[in-house]
């Protein structure tokens, strides 16, 4: 893939996924089907009915095929037509999530995730659906020798129909197991793990493990119709040695983290040390399908050592 000028990767590009070449290893995020009868490992909330991920030409009823930033296809992450109030756990199907599963290479000490994105409500009714999109975002599931941690950002677009248009980042929580798992005291999800689903939610769009950016209000380009996409760049850089955030760029903005900002440092889990799993997601605010389109995704690292 020829990287466009939107991308500014660190020296070692691990993957550059242009969805004109297929799914490139991105697939639906599903739980572990390790319980009897192939049931899911955790049922604290419904984790098996999120909307499916697909290759999209971004084709609409009146505009025809929109295509992608480069070429025809993008990755479309879709929710179902379902949503719970903002202060409740996510409703079954109210999100769509796509994951890619990688591993951290030797000596990597900085990690950058970049993408071009657009977000839309399904054009299934007249008018403008922008406020039917509650949120979208992404994080990276990482584990080193000591901790599992999930740095990432979430754009809260609208909450219970009210425009918000502001960015959060995943931050450290001191929630108990029961608080994190909506009352379950023996939950598989330790506090900080899977913050896109767990941790108490509030009516203003806050959660146990999110912090609003200072100066994080941003009117992204939704455009003036549910069938018009503006491919917008984002870039998140993480210091893997300190487990801290470095910088988040989105659109024409650079959002600054407070000194020392980091996600929750959860205990290490078995058999996943060194994983590098980026996850993108979208959340519906009403009973209407919403989608996050990605084209392309570039993941890069800096090792500081000539190869």
């Amino acid at each position: 893939m020829q990287l466009s000028g939107y991308f500014d990767p660190l020296p070692r590009v691990l993957v550059a996924d242009d969805f004109d070449n297929g799914m490139s290893g991105w697939l639906d995020l599903r739980p572990n089907f390790v319980a009897p009868d192939f049931r899911e490992h955790s049922d604290d909330i419904d984790l098996i009915h999120w909307g499916p991920t697909m290759l999209s030409s971004a084709t609409f009823a009146f505009g025809g095929t929109h295509g992608s930033a480069q070429g025809t296809y993008s990755l479309k992450i879709s929710s179902r037509a379902s949503a719970a109030p903002a202060d409740q756990p996510p409703a079954p199907g109210s999100m769509g999530l796509a994951i890619k599963r990688l591993a951290v290479p030797p000596r990597a000490h900085r990690l950058r995730i970049e993408a071009l994105f657009a977000y839309k409500a399904e054009q299934d009714r007249p008018g403008l659906g922008v406020d039917d999109v509650r949120a979208f975002g992404f994080f990276v599931d990482l584990q080193d020798a000591e901790h599992r941690f999930m740095p990432g950002v979430r754009y809260v677009n609208a909450v219970d129909g009210r425009p918000v248009r502001a960015w959060q980042y995943y931050s450290a929580t001191d929630a108990t197991d029961a608080e994190w798992n909506y009352g379950a005291t023996d939950g598989w999800h330790k506090p900080g793990v899977d913050p896109q689903w767990f941790g108490r939610r509030s009516a203003d769009g806050s959660t146990d493990a999110t912090t609003w950016f200072d100066e994080g209000a941003q009117h992204l380009i939704y455009n003036e119709s549910d069938d018009k996409l503006n491919w917008t760049p984002l870039s998140l850089t993480i210091d893997l040695r300190t487990r801290r955030y470095e910088e988040f760029r989105v659109g024409g903005r650079i959002l600054t983290f407070p000194d020392g900002a980091h996600p929750t440092l959860a205990p290490a889990y078995d058999d996943i040390e060194g994983l590098l799993n980026p996850v993108f997601f979208v959340e519906a605010d009403t009973d209407r399908r919403v989608s996050l389109f990605l084209d392309s995704v570039v993941i890069s690292v800096e090792t500081g050592v000539a190869s």
Partner: protein
């Protein structure tokens, strides 16, 4: 090499009488197989599902293929444009409507 992708479009999804699977974009594919699995059906219960296609993922037309099964079945589809789904009903032996749990997998190649 061709591209191949299977989506588990519906996993153990409960449908109340009417079945409509998630609109799936697959304009890149030349061929598609729908795999349908009916879970925990009582004797006489079955689903009757029509393959549907769409120009926009919103408005749907019958493609002509029908899947009727009390357990598991599949249907092959080609030349379908940009979007596919299944739509139909879940019924018991006397034709009355019921609720069912379905898994639907869509295998795409192109």
């Amino acid at each position: 090499m061709k591209t191949f992708s299977t989506s588990v479009v519906e996993l153990r999804q409960r449908f109340d009488q009417t079945v409509e699977t998630h609109p799936y974009e697959c304009g890149w594919a030349d061929e598609a197989l729908f795999f349908v699995e009916l879970h925990d059906a009582e004797p006489g219960e079955r689903v009757v599902l029509r393959v549907q296609l769409s120009a926009d993922g919103i408005r749907w037309l019958d493609e002509g293929t029908v899947i009727e099964t009390a357990a598991a079945s599949f249907a092959r589809v080609t030349h379908f444009g940009g979007f596919l789904r299944l739509a139909g009903t879940a019924i018991r032996a006397d034709g009355g409507p019921i609720s069912v749990t379905l898994s639907v997998r869509l295998a795409l190649k192109g």
